[in-house]
Symmetry: C2
Amino acid sequence: LAVLFDSASTVPDLLSIFHEQEMTETVHETNGHGYLATFVGKNGRFVILRVHSHGLVTIDLQCYEEDNISQLDNLLNALETKLKALLNGNITRIKRLPALIRGAKVDRYWPTADGRLIEYDIDGVVYEEDSAYQNIKILHSQQFGNILVLNGDVNLAESDLAYTQAIMGSGKEDYAGKEVLILGGGDGGILAEVVKQKPKMITMVEISFIKVIDGCKMHMRKTCGDILDNLKGDCYQILVEDCVPVLKKYVKEGRMFDYIINDLTAVPISTEPEEDSTWEFLRLILDLSIKVLHPSGKYFTQGNSVNLSEALTLYEEQLGKLSCPVDFSKEVVCVPSYLELWVFYTIWKK
Amino acid sequence: LAVLFDSASTVPDLLSIFHEQEMTETVHETNGHGYLATFVGKNGRFVILRVHSHGLVTIDLQCYEEDNISQLDNLLNALETKLKALLNGNITRIKRLPALIRGAKVDRYWPTADGRLIEYDIDGVVYEEDSAYQNIKILHSQQFGNILVLNGDVNLAESDLAYTQAIMGSGKEDYAGKEVLILGGGDGGILAEVVKQKPKMITMVEISFIKVIDGCKMHMRKTCGDILDNLKGDCYQILVEDCVPVLKKYVKEGRMFDYIINDLTAVPISTEPEEDSTWEFLRLILDLSIKVLHPSGKYFTQGNSVNLSEALTLYEEQLGKLSCPVDFSKEVVCVPSYLELWVFYTIWKK
């Protein structure tokens, strides 16, 4: 509960509400930073009341899950009513936020790439494993279905066909009879969609495949269908390998692909590339990829949150440093489970 | 900061970190609900340390906006490092949440319809007015553009063409030469899109138009274009009236519409319709609307968050109680600024 108001000296009247609840009060010395009192009540209840010097009252109420929630709602209602009465006409804004739940079996808070606090409607952990490369979780969301979370980043949910469509060129491409290379893409979503268009051959290179495949082929079937049940099919093969040596081999062999889809881990958010080798690594993969891209071919990749303009600019700067000159376009796409708009790139040889 | 771990008795070592910061400690008696201490530091800093009896440590750090954030990050880092060292191997989970900002000029927290805590990337208030019916705000979001917020509900952002398309039948309808009735829709989005398809006539009935139009025609131009600049055009008219008497008049006159789009306020979330006249009101509008719907016509409306299944079921029950029998279908749509999936209905005469 946070109230913004114009005049203070309302403290004694508020205190009576806590006293009625038989809470034990402690007043803290703040050295000129307003009034600060804490109250311990029954069932482990704890209240922090601050009347800040610039006309803000904040009330934090902590309680346990098994506490009587309607009693606590009544307490907050009483505080709100009292404050409204005391400050009649002087309240600029009053706001009560949903409770933050900590230490629950299921963690519902997965901040966006641009660092905002977001509560998901997650009600269960479906799968959790650690590979040599990452922590792999599949969480169940009421609205998005199962969500693949890699190292704490929301990667893809069963609701996110929009992601797969965007990274395949937003329906404007024809994959029939084409040579396709997928880097990463362990959830199988891209593979499953490209296969439907009857390409000549898809080669997918995914390093951390085994633990991801186990989870996705069991729990992300709306995304991958049955494509991950076999590492090889009529027009696809999955190489469980580091893509860098594979790309180097293809360069040496003079292999060419009509489409390359890079679905490796996201652009690093670091804005100091000189201190971070991730950009070097990204550029290496880009450079090798462009070398095996057909002159009229297209390279697709995801970028980052549309709000992370510095990281996007840095990525675009890398595109100017490749051994083979390229042009690019970008598109902003709404991927349902991301809860933030996402940038996708199309890159081609000049 | 919340840590879940298996063994306790780590308190003294944690305390040393606060003592190094010259914070004043108060230990509170909790009557068997774990260890609870608070610390007041310089600049109005305040820390709540709780070691809960079921193996959870929570640390809340409160500070002012103008405080030295990197110093505070270092404090949290030190606490995290110490906890990891003390509980080596026994930590099930460790999580640090983005700061909750209270009392700021711009409120960034607009919970979803299903009650989840969501932080928007809002950086400014563009417009704020109170009409006789509602509080009207237009807020600026970095990624979604301007957002119309009515009575605290996110209504529509400039990014949300998906909403307008969904409530027009998801591109499967042809409005050319048709008679169209829009109920509500004060932001002008639907009107602007339907006009493009050259219907015979659009009648839009919006009660709280004046304050909404002022805001939207200035600040939501990506949504409404110039359509709100005039209350009348070649193939549309806007009636600034309560839709109920207008519908009653149309029923009496025997008017018929090919398409009716209900964009009035959302389905009430109350699950006790017998105690709430909102459902009665909703049904009245539905009943009148169906009476002026051409036998082969379609009625479109938004429903609710896909997670609010009780409210959706109640709405569907109302559809079974109309004086003219109807069938319906529904679609789940991702409206970018909603940050939750939304249900849209298509209703037609049996």
